[in-house]
Symmetry: C2
Subunit: 142 residues, 2 copies
Amino acid sequence: MRLEPAEARRLAAAADHAVLATIGPDGRPDLVPACLAIDDDVVGIPIDRVKPKASSSLQRERNVERDPRASLLLERWDAADWSRLWWVRLELERSSQDAAVVARLEALLRRRYPQYATEPFVSILTFRILRVSGWAATPPTT
Amino acid sequence: MRLEPAEARRLAAAADHAVLATIGPDGRPDLVPACLAIDDDVVGIPIDRVKPKASSSLQRERNVERDPRASLLLERWDAADWSRLWWVRLELERSSQDAAVVARLEALLRRRYPQYATEPFVSILTFRILRVSGWAATPPTT
């Protein structure tokens, strides 16, 4: 079943994990797993300090400087029970945000991921949500 | 830690779930969750018959006809324990395969996903693996 936009947004806002696709220098999709927080129409993706992740983070930042478009997939996978599957797709555009929005996103991220207490993120990439779509095998309960 | 290509391939071959990115008509990454099987240098992605997934499948097929490049992300997410995280990224190119390879991929898919016994996939999209990279927080054990 196709998800109503409001339902898709609700699932996206509750999800603690996503896959972010930016556009690489040659036009190929560049995929990375991502933590996230959503505040209304804005998605915040933390940029980690951890070394081996840092080069990916940098690549991601360079990509959205070159082309501000990105896509995000959030989903539930359950190998055993496909009746529980759902996914939500967000079309995004890189967009700077004022300090109040960034502060709210930072607070959301710290609340959601206790790991950032010991390994703080360096900054947040912010995106505006342009379009939401989604699908579920059955009406999702979470 | 960056994963050695052999280790990244081992993790990818064992993974039962991935996110596939193809290139949409406007160049934006088009993301879908995907089941998969890997046979040596070839990835097979089943095309489902199920109606609401069918339109996504069609879009995906149209995308790779237009531009054969795709990317695949496989990963382990664990909200509670980030020391268990890993991800593997495959750069792919759409590539037809001979009947023997397709038959092996079909057998792998049927073995891996018992769901296809009652809801058979319609066909398989095949891709050649061009490049493998990956990262793990600690040496992965599965």
